[in-house]
Symmetry: D2
Subunit: 492 residues, 4 copies
C-alpha cells in the first residue's frame, strides 16, 4: 500500500492532527494573518486551481515552460545559440518589473523606487542605475513601458528575457544600443524582443502544448497534496465550496481527476472529483470575472463543449459552468462577498481584484514562503545587524555629517549586509524584501491578502471555527506616544 | 516686549531650541516617520500654502465656510429653516466618503469596508447598515457615486450635507424616499442635493467671497506661526525652497505677507516675503501639476496678472510663476524628485500624487494630530482592553462556537469600547481609526507620507542633518517565525 | 403707426402672404431642401434662440465681441498696439479650422483637404502650403491641434486670431519662429495665443459683459423679425412648440420679451412671450443635451433662479425648465424624435447632434445665405466657366500629358477663376465652397440639415401641410448608365 | 490555344483595347467618379488582395463560408436541424446592420433611419418596425448593440444569422421572447447567438480551414482576371505599385502565384509574382494600419516566417514585409498620401480610413455593381415613376391634407414601387438604395471613394494620364437660384 498515495480521510478530533504532529509542525504549515478573520463566519470557500489546488513542481514545470518558449523563439528566427541556455531556478524571483525601453529587470517597492536592477545576468551598481533612472524611481502607471511579472507562470519568461539580454550583449555580431541591438539592417529593440517573448508565451498557451505535456506526465509536473480529498470534504461539511479557474474544462478535468480520484483512500470508495464542489466554473477570465464578467454557459461534461444559450435555472450539483462573474457566483450560491474566503495564488487577478472590487475575504498561496521562512530563520542575524546599524547611523547623524568616514563605512557595511541577505534567497533576492525594504509584491500581499501561507492545505491544521487574529497595527505616533524611553525620533 | 507676534529668529545651537524646552516638548512638536529619511540628503524643500504654511483657525474658518455655503443654498431656493443650523466642530471628521445614492456619510477602511455610517446626525446600527450595503462594503472606484471628503476645506461641506439630511428627514412637508425627498411635484434626490452643495462650494470659491473675508480679517482666520521666518531662513541656508500653491497670486500675496512680513523680528530688518523662496508657483492645479501640468507663465507681481507667453529663461530670484508642472520645477531648480521634501496637507493632491508619480519625499501636515495624540494618550486604556478582548475571543473560539453567550458578550463589550473610543475624538470618530481598525485616510498616510506631524514648523526642532528612522516593518511570518512563545495563530 | 414695428398677425389665406408679395419674394425668402419632409407630419417645432429667433445684427454684434476680447487680451498683458485693430467683416468666414501648431487659419473640405490657408492676413500660395502640410491635408480628428470655428459667435475670435498673427509677425520686437514668436526670454507659441483668445472668449461670456451690453442696447444688436409673433402663433395652432437654448433664463427673458412683447400688433392685445411656447428650456448644454443631458430643474420665473429638486409632474404651460435632455423633452411633450422639426444655427450642437443621436428633423438657419445667393447669382458665370475648363482639361488629358503648356495655361486660368469667385464672397471666401470644391461646412449641411434657409421666419411663406421635396440623388453610375451620349468618363 | 487562361499582355495603343471592343464595352467595364482625379498625378498604386486582386467566386465562396460556420455551430451544440439550411445568394445584401438586442437585420440610411427590417426571413411591415423602433431610427454609435456587416466576408454570416432566427422562431421546442428564445432552463439571447456566430467566424478564420480549402481548390473559388499581369506591368511602368493585405504570407503567396504565375502569356516568360510589386506588405491589420500601425518586420519568403527585429534599411525589391503602417509605406516608397491611389474592397478598413486619416486617393471595388447596373437599367422605369409620384404628391399637398384618399393611394403605390424595385436586386434589396432613398453604404461610398467600379481591372481601359472628371456638386440653393421655372419648393 503506497503511503504517499494514501488520501488522508480525517482524524477523530477537531484539529485533525495527531498530538505528536502538533509539536513537529513547522512554520511552513502555518497560516499568517494580515487582518483578523473568523473561519466560523465563512459560509463559502472558493479556490483557484493552478498553483492553488494544483501545485506545479518546481523547477520541472518552469523548465518545461522555459524550453518551450525558447524553442519557439528559435523557430521564429532567433539564433540557434539560444538553445544552449537552460533554466536556472536560482536566478529569477517572482514580482519583478520589466522595463521594455532599456531591457532591464527591476525589483521595486510599492512606490516605484528601484531596489535591484539587472540587465541580463549583470547586476547594475547604484551609479549605473542612476544613468538609466536618475531618480532611482519608475512611474509604474506607465504600463505601456513597464510590465509586472507577478505570477508563477511568469518565471520562465523572466529568465528567458534575461537570457536574451545576456546573449545579444555578448554576441559580437550585434552592436549594443541604448534601446536594443543592431545587426546590419536589422534593429532589435528591447521592446520588440519583449513582444516576441510575450508572443511565444501566448503561442505555447494557445496551441495547448504546455497543457498537453503537463497532462501526459502529471506525476512529473503536478504535486499531489495527500490530504486534499479529506480537506475538501471537511470544509464542504460546514460551508459551500467552489472552484473558479481561468483554465478550460478539459484541462481542469484532467488535473482535478488526478488530484482527487487517483489516490487510495483509507475510508470508503473514491468519489468523482466534481462531487467535492458545489459549483465549478471554468474559463473565468479573472480579473474581468470580478468586474463585468462574461456570459455564463453550461459545460457539457461529456464533450467538454459549451452548451449553447445561457443557463437560467437553479444551481445543480456537479454542474460545470463556463464564464460568468463573481456576482453570478454569489447569486447562484446565495452568499454575500464577505462570507466568501477566496484562496488563490495570483496577487492581482485573484486577491487584489476580489478584495477591492467585491470585498471578499482572501487567502494568498505563496509557494515561495517555505524558502522565505527558511532563509529568514537562518539569516535573521543579518537583518538584526542591519537594524542595529540603522540606529547607529541615526545616532551618528546627530553629531557628524554624511561625509564623515564613519558614516560612509557604515553605509558600505549595510550594502554588503543587504547583498548577503538578498543572495541567500536567490540571485534576484527575496520575493518580499531587499534588506530592510519591502517589495511591491510584499506591500500588495499586506494590503489585499487577509491570510497567506505556503499552501492552501494548511487550513487543515486549524479548526473550522478558528479566529485568525492579526496583531493590531499602530501608527508611528501611536507607538511612540506613551513610550518615552525608546523614542527614536526625539533629538533633544 | 516678546509677544506672540514676535518672530523667532533662531537660536545659536543646532537644535534651535533652548535646553529647557527640550524637556517640555510634547508629542505635538514631534515628527513621525513612516519611511526613513535623511534630512541631509534633501536639497530642496517645497511647501503648499493653505493649511501648511497658513494654518486656518478652527473652528472659525470652517464656521465661515459653512455659513457661506448654507446661505448660498438658501439664496438658490433651499428652505429658510436651514439658517438655524450652525457649524458644530464636534461632528465631522475629515476623510469621510459621501454616498450620493443613499445620502449617507461613510467612514471606510482602505479596502472599502464600512466602519461608521451616518444619515444626517443619525448613526446607523450594523443591522441598518446591511440594509443599504448588504456586504458592509462599497466599491470605492465607483467615483460617480462615492466622493471623498479628504481635505480640511471639505469639513464645512461634510457638516452641511449632514444638516440637509437632518432637516429634510424631520420636516413634515417632505416625504422620505430611498434615494431622496419628495414634496408635491418636486423630487430632491440625495445626488442632486450633493450637487447643489458642490455648486455652492464652487460658487463661494470662484466668486472670491471666502478669500475676501479671510483677507479682510486675517487675525481672525489665519494662525501666525511665530518662528516661520526663522524656520524658512534656516532651511534656505542649506537647501532650495519653493512654494507651490493652487491659490492665485493676489490671495497668496496677502496671506504670505501677513505670515512673513507683519511680525516683529528680534534680529535685523523685515524681509519681503518672496525673498524667503527660490521659486514661487501659484495656480498650480495640483494634482494635475504632478502629471502633465499646464503652461508656465510669469506673474506680474505689481498687477497680479499673468505675463503673456511662456517664460523660457533661467530661474530669477523672487520671480513668481503661474501653472507649470512638477517636472518644470525640477528643471528650474535643477533637482531630482528624490532630493525634494514636499510638505503639504492634501493627502491626495499633495502627497499621494507627488510620491506616486514623481518619487518625491513627502511630509504630511495633519492638524488633527494634536487632538488625536491627546485622546490616544487618555483613552489608550480602551484600546489595550480591546486588544485583550480580541485575544480572549480568539482563545474562546478554540473551544466554543460563535453562538456561545460568552462570545456574544465579549463582542458586545468590544462594540461598546469601540464606540467609547470613537466618540472621545468626535461624533464621527477619529481621523485615523475606529476602534482597532484603521481608516482609508490612515492607510493612505502610511503608504504615501514619509513623515507626518501636526505642523510643518516642527521641522525646526530637528537638526538639518537629522536621520528620521522608521522602525523596520516585519511581515506576519517574519514576526512569528523565531518567536514560538507568542505564536497567536498556532492552535494545536 | 410704425410699420417696421408692426407685428404681422396673419393673413386670411393659407399661404399667409398677399398675392403681390408672391412675385417679389426672392431666393432669400425660400427654404432649401436636402431631404424631403412633409410639414404636415411635424407634430412639434423646436427652436434655438441665439441666431435663430434672435438674429444678432452684423457687423455690430461681432464688432462688440471683437473689441471685448481684444481689450481683455490687452488687459492681461498683450501689447497696447493691438487696440488699433478694428473688426473687418470682409475678412472672416465661418467654418474655418485653426491650426494651433502653426497659427494658420484653414478652409478645408470634408475629408481634410486644404482649400485655403492664411497666416494673419497673408494668404499662402500652394507652394507655401505644402511646406507646412506636405499632403495639403490635415488629420481633422486631431482635435488637440485643430479647432473648428463653426459658429457665428466664433467670427470675432477668428478675426482676432488673424490680427494677432499679423501684429506679431510684423512687429520688430518679436522674432518669428515656426511655432510662435520669441521676445527675449519670452516664448509665445501659437498654441498659447490660441489658448489666450479662448480664455478671453470664456471670460467675456462668463462675466456676463457681452450679455449685459447686448441687453442694454437691444435695438442696436438684435434684429426684430416683424412677423415672429404671427409665425409662432400660426405653428402653435397646429403643433407643439418649444424653445431650447444654452443661454440662461435672465438673458433669454430679456431677449424674448424684446422680440415678442415690444411690437405693436394689429390684432388683439400683446401676449406674454412665454405663452408662445408649450415648453421653454434654458441652460440646455447642447450638444450634451442630445446625449446624457443634465438634471432637469424648474426655473422660478420671478427670480430667475432654479428651484431646488427635480420637477417630476406633468408639463405645465408657461413653466420654464433648466437643463434636461432631448429625451426628457420628448417625454414631456409626448412626441417622437421624427415628429420634431428642430430649427437652429449651430451645425454641430444643434443640427448634427439632434439628427445623428436622436433622428430629429432639422432646419439649419444660415444667415450668410443671403449673401451667398447674391454672389452666386452674380458670379455664376465664373462657375460655369470653371466647369467648361474642367471638361476641356479632361479632353486635353486624353491626348497630351500634364506638362503640356496648354494644360498648364488652363490650370492657371482655373486658379484665377477660383480666386475671383472666392473674393466675391469675402477675403476667406464663401462659407460653402472654394471654386468648384465644397467646404466641410457645406458637406455637413448636406448630410445633417433636412432644410436650410436664411431665416427661420421663411417657414411663414409655406402652408403648414407643405411637402418639401428634395430632388432624388443619383449616384455616378446611375446618372451615366442610361445616358450614353454625355458619358464623360468613357474615353475610347 | 487562347483560352480564358491566357493572360492579356497588352496592346500597342494607349487605350489597351482594340477599337471594336470600345463600342461593346458596357457599364460594368467603366469606372465611376465621385471626385475628380488625374491618373497622371498618381505616383503610386496600392492594392488590397482579397476581393480586389483576388475575386472570390460567388456564390461558391460564400457557400463554403456559410457551411463552415453552420457546421461549427452544430459542433458546439446548436441543433442538427440547422444542417438543412443551405446558402441562398438571393437573400443577403452587404452593408446591413445587425441589432443584437432584437435579432433583426436592418438596412439603414446614413443618419440611422430604417429602410428595411427583417427577422429571419420575415420582413417587418412599417407598423411592426415601429413596435421595435418607435422612431424608425437607430443610434448607430451604440456599437455595443449594432454591428455593421459591411464586407463581402460578412455575407455568409448575415445569411446564417437569418437562418438561426428562422429556425428557432419556427421550432416548437423554443419559446419566442422579445430578446431571444427560451428552452427549459436555457435562455438563448439574440446577443449570445450573434456572439456564437462571430466566434464561429473567428474559428474558421483562425484555424485556417477557410484558407486551406480555398488554396486546395483555387480554380473553384478564385476568379482569374485574364489580363492582370498585363495590367500590373503597365502601371508599374509609370508608377510604384504595392500590395497591402491583412492576409498572412503563406496564403498571399498561394493566391498571388495562382493569379500571376499560372497563366499562359503570349509574350515572354512568366515572371515571379513578387516582381510585379515594388513593395509587398502582409499582416497589415487594417484599419489599424492607417493609424498607429504595428512593428514592421521582414518576412523570410522561404519559410514564410518573420525575421526577428525590425528592418531599418532601404527598400529592397521583392522583399516582403509584415505589419507596419501607412506612414511606413510612404517613407519606404518615398511618396506623399495624395500621390497614392489605393484600391480596395472594404469601405471602412480600406477606403474610409485611408481617406480620412491619410488623405489617400481611393478606388472602391464593388463587385455587386455589375448586378446593380443591370437592375437599374431594367427597372429605371420604376424609379422614374417614383419620382413622378413624388412631385405629384408634393402638388397634392398644396391643396389637400394627408388624410385625403388620393394621397393615401399615391403613398401606397410608392410603397409598392419601392418594393418591386428592391426585390429586383435581392430579397434584402440593393446595396445602394431602397426606392429613392440611399443606404448608409451608398453614402459612405459617396464620401470616401474617389472612384468606384465593378473591378480594379477596369483601370486597364483608361489611359494612364486620364482625368476622371466628377460632375460638379450643386447645393439645393445653387440649383434653384437661377432657374425659376422648375422651382419645386416655391408655393405661391
Amino acid at each position: 500500500m503506497k503511503t504517499s498515495e494514501t488520501c488522508k480521510t480525517g482524524g477523530s478530533e477537531t484539529g485533525g492532527l495527531p498530538a505528536e504532529e502538533r509539536v513537529k509542525r513547522g512554520n511552513d504549515k502555518r497560516i499568517f494573518v494580515n487582518r483578523s478573520l473568523t473561519l466560523e463566519n465563512i459560509k463559502c470557500y472558493g479556490f483557484d486551481m493552478d498553483y492553488t489546488l494544483a501545485i506545479y513542481k518546481s523547477p520541472e514545470f518552469e523548465t518545461m515552460g522555459f524550453e518551450l518558449i525558447r524553442d519557439r523563439l528559435v523557430s521564429v528566427g532567433y539564433p540557434h545559440e539560444l538553445l544552449r541556455y537552460t533554466y536556472d531556478p536560482s536566478f529569477p524571483t517572482r514580482g519583478l518589473v520589466i522595463d521594455t525601453l532599456f531591457g532591464n529587470l527591476l525589483k521595486v517597492d510599492s512606490n516605484g523606487n528601484i531596489l535591484v536592477c539587472s540587465h541580463g545576468f549583470y547586476f547594475l551598481k547604484s551609479y549605473d542605475i542612476k544613468k538609466f533612472y536618475p531618480n532611482k524611481f519608475i512611474q509604474r502607471h506607465d504600463t505601456d513601458r513597464f510590465h509586472n511579472l507577478s505570477t508563477l507562470f511568469n518565471l520562465s519568461e523572466t529568465y528567458l528575457y534575461a537570457c536574451l539580454m545576456d546573449f545579444f550583449t555578448r554576441c559580437s555580431r550585434y552592436e549594443n544600443l541604448t534601446t536594443g541591438f543592431q545587426h546590419g539592417d536589422l534593429l532589435m529593440t528591447f521592446r520588440s524582443m519583449f513582444q516576441d517573448v510575450r508572443d511565444a508565451m501566448d503561442h505555447i498557451h494557445n496551441n495547448g502544448v504546455l497543457k498537453d505535456r503537463t497532462i501526459k506526465n502529471l506525476e512529473k509536473f503536478v504535486e499531489k497534496i495527500p490530504n486534499l480529498p479529506y480537506f475538501l470534504t471537511r470544509i464542504k461539511d460546514v460551508a459551500k465550496v467552489f472552484l473558479a479557474t481561468n483554465s478550460d474544462y478539459m484541462y481542469t478535468e484532467a488535473i482535478m481527476r488526478y488530484l482527487l480520484e487517483t489516490c487510495v483512500t483509507t475510508s470508503g470508495p473514491r468519489k468523482p472529483w466534481r462531487s467535492y464542489f458545489d459549483l465549478i466554473v471554468v474559463d473565468t477570465k479573472k480579473p474581468q470575472f470580478f468586474g463585468e464578467g462574461t456570459v455564463l454557459r453550461q459545460v457539457d461534461t461529456d464533450t467538454g463543449k459549451l452548451r449553447i444559450g445561457t443557463y437560467t435555472g437553479d444551481l445543480q450539483h456537479g454542474t460545470v459552468y463556463s464564464g460568468g462573474s463573481s456576482d453570478v457566483i454569489c447569486d447562484l450560491l446565495k452568499v454575500q462577498g464577505k462570507d466568501i474566503l477566496y484562496v488563490g495564488d495570483h496577487i492581482f487577478g485573484d486577491i487584489l481584484k476580489s478584495k477591492k472590487r467585491q470585498g471578499w475575504k482572501t487567502f494568498l498561496v505563496v509557494p515561495e514562503l517555505t524558502k522565505e521562512l527558511e532563509v529568514w530563520e537562518k539569516k535573521r542575524g543579518l537583518f538584526e545587524e542591519l537594524k542595529r546599524l540603522d540606529v547607529f547611523l541615526a545616532e551618528l547623524h546627530k553629531n557628524v555629517d554624511s561625509t564623515d568616514p564613519e558614516i560612509l563605512d557604515i553605509q558600505y557595511r549595510m550594502k554588503v549586509l543587504t547583498y548577503r541577505m538578498d543572495v541567500a534567497y536567490s540571485q534576484m533576492g527575496s520575493l518580499l524584501r531587499s534588506g530592510s525594504r519591502q517589495t511591491l509584491f510584499s506591500s500588495q500581499l499586506l494590503r489585499y491578502a487577509d491570510l497567506y501561507s505556503t499552501s492552501c492545505i494548511n487550513l487543515v491544521h486549524y479548526p473550522l471555527n478558528y479566529l485568525f487574529l492579526a496583531p493590531p497595527v499602530l501608527m508611528a505616533h501611536e507607538m511612540t506616544s506613551s513610550d518615552n524611553t525608546t523614542d527614536m525620533e526625539a533629538v533633544i
